[in-house]
């Protein structure tokens, strides 16, 4: 694939991610933060996010498996997940977290379990998307092209 085509594909793909609400402006800010001094910043942060989220999701599953669910703990975990997802701009995960927290307040086990499923679902989706995106970027870089920047005038 030639570089230009790949670049266009990357732009299109990014746009769809925004369009479908997987990502929001925060992700753009991340991309803008990446420069020569931090060439792998986005990758770094995103993989941090993956690690963190997987750990949190595990903790959440464990916490909800307990006979007596400690909703405070669950809520704290979800809050953290919400914080990290909002800072990389994974807004669908974030939205799921918001719903999750509401049910935590209600101490509704069934609903929280459902929300956990939902959050996991969203997480895997966005993980998949982000991995594809990053792979594309790497391919472009490998092919010697530069990553097109997307400007958003917020």
């Amino acid at each position: 694939m030639e570089v230009g085509q790949m670049q266009r594909r990357l732009v299109d793909y990014t746009k769809t991610l925004f369009m479908e609400g997987f990502l929001d402006a925060q992700f753009l800010q991340l991309q803008q933060l990446q420069d020569e001094s931090n060439p792998d910043f986005v990758v770094e942060v995103v993989s941090l996010f993956f690690d963190d989220s997987e750990k949190l999701l595990n903790d959440l599953s464990m916490a909800l498996d307990q006979p007596n669910v400690d909703f405070k703990k669950v809520d704290a975990h979800v809050h953290q997940l919400k914080g990290s997802s909002s800072s990389i701009g994974a807004q669908r995960v974030k939205n799921a977290c918001i719903a999750f927290r509401n049910f935590c307040e209600e101490q509704n086990i069934d609903a929280t379990l459902r929300c956990l499923q939902q959050v996991k679902h969203e997480y895997y989706l966005v993980k998949n998307k982000l991995e594809t995106l990053l792979r594309l970027e790497q391919q472009i870089v490998a092919a010697g092209g530069s990553i097109p920047t997307i400007e958003m005038g917020f």
């Binding site: 925004f18 933060l33 420069d35 690690d51 909002s86 800072s87 807004q91 499923q117 005038g153």
Partner: protein
């Protein structure tokens, strides 16, 4: 899910289900579908594996759905179970509720009815008790006194002494008798048979003294010879009887009050009038009671008898009897029954009626005198039957509890309640009281059910209120959580649209559509903000910030902004602020601007032609009396409003003296469709529009004015619609704002009269022109007005070629006379400077005629100074041409005071420069340049302002570091020239850029402000420049705007537990040159700070030098929710440890919520500012800068 099931499994169920109803079949279908889906669960998995390699995304989805299948299954079963349980629960609840309601009602009814009856009965009983008590008291008192008196005369020896004794007794008895009006009689019968008695006839209100003939009795009765052998008592009795028989009794009438004798004593047969209690009634020497009748009363009498003992307590010397009528008991019963209905009667134990609530007679006349009547023989049917019923039920053996309650006793075909109480009187045969009620209970029942209903209603009201409060709470909670979540997607939408608009490959239609979407989203965002604002105000969460701001400039910016919108509408926007309005006021500028933005945009919406005037003045008696600015009809309602305000304002005025508060009045006056007077109040309600039918044409939610009023009220003001002459609406409001101590002083207005300047206003808008010329005249600048090209030429001719054109002038213009006199007076001025302010709209821009017109005006350029008023869409070609011709003074529409001042000042300055030029060191070019600088600079300023105020009005307030901007703006105006040179360069660059843009822009020109703004922000260079001017006086911050290393050298401690956010924030800060130390929680943050301190201490100790004392970090960014120690706690700890150090490290909170309540909490624990997640890059920088700059 039913679709995936194989048809075979489905096939069997309809056969079974066919006779059943469709709903049932549906359920069965669903269940069978479910079962089959369970069976087919393995199928998709297998397939899934097959597809696995084909598409990663699809795989993911399939995996998820397979995963979900089992969970759906369990969820469905759980749902079914829950539904069933719910149904049972509801049914149970209903039954229980019904049951309890019924039970409770009946029970409470019964209790209430019983309580009432009980209380009813208690009252006659109490009365009865009262009577008995008083009777016995009197009796006892009489006995005691008699004993005392008789003992004094224990051994009466002579007749005289005896008489004296009786006289004493009589007086004493009278005293007692007179004191108790209820008494019927008091009798004393002595051992010797002598009788004294007082009797009161209640029927005809007579009082009598009755006594027996003294002569018949010996002095010592018990020593009478005929009865010597008899026992003491026996003799007594005999004597008594004997005396009774033989004695002659006299009765003498007495004055009932004084006891004086009023008539002659008449002999009467003994025992005829009253019962005299004799010794027979005190058989064993103790008190006795009995019920008697007398022929003078129709009610039974209750009499008590007590013996009087002699001093040795061995023999009875006399018997005292006290008789009371039971009449009053009957009276009370009647009263009770009158109110409550029913029947009450009182009987003695034997069954004799003593009192009833009816008028049935209690006594019957028999052959041998009046007798008491038995209750069973009563003439009253109900009483008779009640008594009979009681007798039948209990006979003479009353139940041991002495209380009888019977419900539903059938008396003569009707149901009655019967209650009976028994009163045991010592020595008095038992008295029982019965109440029989029928109607009374019925009435009671009604009353009770009504009360129950009321109570139920009250309870339901309470519930409803509680629910409403809860839901309102939920609402604000919801908004608190949603405010951020709503704005973010909106921001994303707008951002994406901006991307799309930048795309070059859009067709024109697509572009138009996208622009439309962009506009709509902005509108939606604005609406969202409105609603959030409103709910914030309502929930009391809106906190006004107090900051100094330049009111005039804010309003000018606002008018600038709206005038752009208005030009298309053919509506003139005019700002008319009186000179006495202080330049700087303290308050929440964003909110003030929001008020006017809402009002003006509202006016614009409903005004299709004419003008919109924003007037403002300061409440101050001197000001109000001055100025012909307000026509009389406008002044009148004002004064009326003022008197109305007096009472409200009294305390306010006091306050205003203390706090330097001022009352600023404003009017928004338009010539639009107007508001019906009946709606003047209600337009300020939420979701209220004066004319609902206009919603379709004008849109809007009806929230704008509501927000305005809420804000105005919160700022201590009032707003109302005021009557107006002519079409349109006049909204008047006042605000209470504080002025800084030196804010009231007038900004140095130049004395223009000294400079002999005259102005010709050749402007289109008549209202603005009028107001401007009046203002100019007030300030000593004569002004001429022209509304069109021809008029302008006439005036110019008249001024400069008076002789040649004089005749034609009069013919053409009817208003010539005053104008000409004006012109003449102008001509009288010594060496005047004429300024002609020409509206570009006067030129004919559609053809090339405007160039001719310019050439024409050029002829006058030596004698007059031209200033141009441009439209915001004036094409660049015109501007360039103007500039080429040396017309450098240009302002944008609309014209207001500040712009006029600016023009005047520029002209005067230039004139001075020209004067200087004549002197050797003058420099024409230099002065020219200076002028240009000023004008361009001014343009940038104003456009900048409008952008800000647009944001202030539309976007979330308080996001702009407004104070700084205003300051720098004002600072710019007075910056020395050399500093401005650079700006000029930038400014002209802007102009060139703009020109380029204008010329080669393929897009349709956008007139809307939003689009203008978006256009602004989209051209990066321009943005750059405007931010340069924004932070103009501060080279430090101007660097910041260019985005590089603005935080150079700052040490920042970052406490954040989420690794991702930690990383992001670190990079953000490092990118700007800050040194970041990141820690994972609050505890570590505190430790890091302490560590650093200890290290410093140590170092200082070692070096033995007093290093300048400053904190280890310049700033701390603190997440609020962290494990181990949260941000609030950490802040508290840090502030505590700081206490001894003498510095204050700025702490900025990072919160996930965006409401002021969180902010309040943050500030409460000692934080300095807060940022919301996700972190906004620019906003973070500005916050950090503002904090670190302050501390530096």
């Amino acid at each position: 899910m039913a679709e995936t099931s194989p048809p075979t499994s489905c096939g069997s169920s309809p056969v079974v289900a066919s006779p059943m109803g469709t709903p049932l079949r549906k359920v069965l279908n669903r269940i069978s579908g479910l079962a089959s889906s369970c069976r087919s669960k393995k199928g998709p998995r297998g397939r899934c594996r097959g597809i696995f390699h084909r598409d990663v995304e699809q795989e993911e989805f399939q995996y998820a759905s397979a995963h979900c299948l089992s969970s759906y299954y369990s969820v469905f079963v759980a749902r079914l179970a829950i539904m069933a349980m719910l149904a049972i629960l509801i049914a149970l609840l209903t039954v229980l509720t019904w049951h309890f309601t019924k039970m409770y009602t009946t029970k409470s009814l019964k209790t209430l009815a019983f309580g009432l009856r009980y209380e009813l009965l208690q009252r006659p009983i109490l009365r009865m008790w009262g009577i008995l008590n008083s009777t016995s008291e009197i009796t006892t008192a009489q006995v005691k006194l008699s004993e005392y008196v008789i003992r004094r005369y224990s051994k009466p020896t002579t007749q005289a002494e005896q008489v004296e004794l009786y006289q004493m007794m009589k007086d004493m008895t009278w005293a007692l008798f007179a004191s108790r009006k209820a008494l019927n009689a008091i009798t004393i019968s002595y051992k010797n048979g002598f009788v004294q008695a007082f009797h009161r006839d209640h029927k005809n209100n007579n009082t009598f003294y009755i006594y027996s003939d003294l002569a018949n009795y010996s002095i010592s009765g018990n020593e009478s010879p005929g009865n010597k052998m008899m026992s003491m008592r026996q003799g007594w009795d005999d004597q008594f009887i004997q005396g009774n028989v033989s004695a002659i009794w006299y009765r003498e009438p007495l004055d009932p009050i004084s006891g004086e004798k009023t008539g002659k004593a008449l002999p009467i047969p003994p025992d005829d009038v009253i019962n005299i209690a004799g010794p027979s009634q005190v058989p064993d020497g103790v008190a006795s009671w009995h019920v008697a009748v007398s022929k003078y009363t129709d009610s039974p009498l209750l009499s008590a008898a007590l013996p009087v003992w002699d001093s040795s307590n061995r023999s009875i010397v006399a018997v005292v009897g006290v008789t009371t009528a039971l009449f009053s008991v009957g009276q009370l019963m009647k009263e009770l029954v009158e109110v409550h209905s029913g029947y009450i009667y009182l009987t003695s134990q034997e069954g004799y009626l003593l009192a009833t609530s009816t008028n049935a007679p209690l006594l019957k006349n028999t052959t041998n005198g009046t007798k008491l009547m038995m209750a069973v023989d009563s003439e009253d049917r109900v009483i008779r039957m009640g008594a009979q019923w009681l007798q039948k039920a209990y006979g003479n053996k009353f139940p041991p509890g002495d209380v009888v309650h019977v419900e539903k006793a059938n008396l003569g075909g009707q149901h009655y309640y019967i209650d009976s109480f028994f009163l045991n009187l010592k020595r008095l045969p038992m008295v029982s009281i019965l109440v029989i009620g029928c109607v009374c209970i019925l009435i009671l029942t009604n009353g009770v059910s009504k009360e129950m209903k009321l109570r139920a209603e009250l309870i339901s009201h309470l519930n409803a209120r509680r629910r409403a409060e809860a839901s309102s709470n939920y609402k604000s909670q919801f908004l608190a959580n949603m405010s951020h979540e709503l704005r973010t997607p909106m921001a994303a939408v707008i951002g994406l649209l901006d991307i799309l608009i930048c795309d070059d490959h859009l067709t024109n239609e697509q572009y138009a559509m996208v622009t439309q979407i962009r506009k709509c989203s902005t509108a939606l965002l604005r609406l969202l903000n409105n609603i959030l604002d409103l709910s914030k105000v309502e929930s009391g969460k809106l906190v006004f910030e107090e900051a100094e701001f330049n009111l005039g400039r804010e309003l000018e910016g606002l008018v600038d902004m709206f005038s752009v919108q208005c030009i298309n509408h053919n509506v003139e926007t005019v700002l008319d602020l009186s000179d006495d309005i202080p330049k700087l006021v303290r308050g929440d500028s964003a909110r003030v601007v929001q008020v006017f933005a809402n009002l003006i945009s509202n006016s614009i919406k409903f005004t299709t032609s004419g003008h919109i005037i924003l007037r403002g003045w300061c409440e101050n008696p001197i000001v109000c009396s001055d100025s012909g600015k307000f026509s009389p009809d406008q002044k009148k309602p004002l004064s009326a409003l003022k008197t109305k305000l007096k009472h409200h304002g009294n305390h306010m005025k006091k306050a205003s003296k203390r706090d330097k508060k001022i009352v600023l009045w404003f009017e928004v006056d338009d010539t639009g469709s107007g508001i019906d007077p009946s709606k003047w109040e209600s337009v300020f309600e939420s979701f209220e529009q004066a004319d609902p039918s206009t919603t379709r044409t004008h849109g809007g939610t009806g929230l704008g004015l509501c927000i305005v009023r809420t804000l105005v009220n919160k700022m201590g003001g009032e707003i109302k619609v005021v009557k107006k002459n002519g079409p349109g609406t006049l909204i008047r409001l006042f605000l209470l704002l504080t002025t800084p101590a030196d804010g009231t002083e007038h900004h140095g207005l130049m004395d223009f009269a000294k400079h002999s300047v005259a102005v010709i206003l050749a402007l289109h808008g008549s209202m603005g022109r009028l107001i401007m010329s009046k203002w100019l005249s007030r300030n000593g600048v004569p002004a001429l007005e022209a509304s069109e090209w021809n008029e302008l030429t006439q005036i110019l001719h008249e001024l400069f070629h008076p002789r040649t054109r004089n005749c034609c002038f009069d013919d053409h213009y009817s208003r010539g006379e005053p104008l000409r006199s004006m012109i003449h007076s102008l001509q009288d001025m010594r060496n005047p400077v004429y300024i002609v302010l020409v509206d570009l709209g006067l030129l004919d821009l559609s053809t090339d005629i405007w160039k001719e017109q310019l050439n024409f005006l050029d002829k006058f350029s030596g004698r007059v100074k031209f200033a141009w008023m441009l439209n915001h869409d004036t094409s660049n070609a015109v501007k360039i041409e103007l500039r080429r011709k040396g017309h450098v003074l240009m302002v944008n529409r609309p014209l207001y005071k500040a712009k006029m001042l600016h023009i005047l000042e520029a002209v005067i300055k230039e004139r001075h420069a020209e004067i200087h030029k004549r002197s050797p060191n003058g420099n024409k070019g230099g002065s020219h340049e200076c002028l240009e600088i000023d004008s361009t600079h001014f343009e940038t300023c104003s456009s900048d302002d409008s952008e800000i105020s647009e944001k202030g009005g539309a976007l979330h307030a308080g996001e702009q570091p407004r104070e700084g901007t205003v300051k720098s703006n004002t600072a710019n105006c007075h910056t020395p020239k050399n500093c401005l040179v650079e700006l000029t360069r930038l400014g002209s660059e802007v102009n060139i850029l703009r020109a380029d843009e204008d010329e080669c822009n393929a897009w349709p020109k956008l007139h809307d402000t939003e689009d203008a703004k978006c256009e602004n922000s989209n051209s990066p260079e321009q943005h750059h420049v405007s931010s340069c001017t924004k932070d103009g006086d501060n080279s430090y911050t101007s660097k910041a705007a260019s985005g590089e290393k603005s935080l150079e050298g700052l040490r920042i401690l970052l406490a954040e537990d989420t690794p991702v956010l930690q990383r992001v924030a670190t990079i953000m800060l490092e990118k700007m040159g800050a040194t970041v130390i990141a820690v994972g929680d609050g505890l570590q943050a505190v430790d890091a700070l302490n560590c650093e301190l200890v290290g410093k201490e140590y170092r200082r100790d070692r070096m033995q030098t007093d290093i300048c004392d400053f904190p280890p970090y310049d700033l701390i960014l603190m997440d609020c929710q962290m494990p181990k120690m949260d941000g609030y706690e950490a802040t508290k700890a840090i502030r505590k440890s700081e206490a001894g150090m003498g510095w204050h490290i700025p702490i900025v909170a990072l919160t996930a919520h965006a409401m002021s309540s969180d902010e309040a909490k943050c500030l409460e624990v000692g934080m300095d500012a807060y940022l919301t997640k996700p972190i906004d890059y620019k906003f973070m920088v500005s916050t950090i800068l503002s904090l670190t700059k302050r501390s530096a």
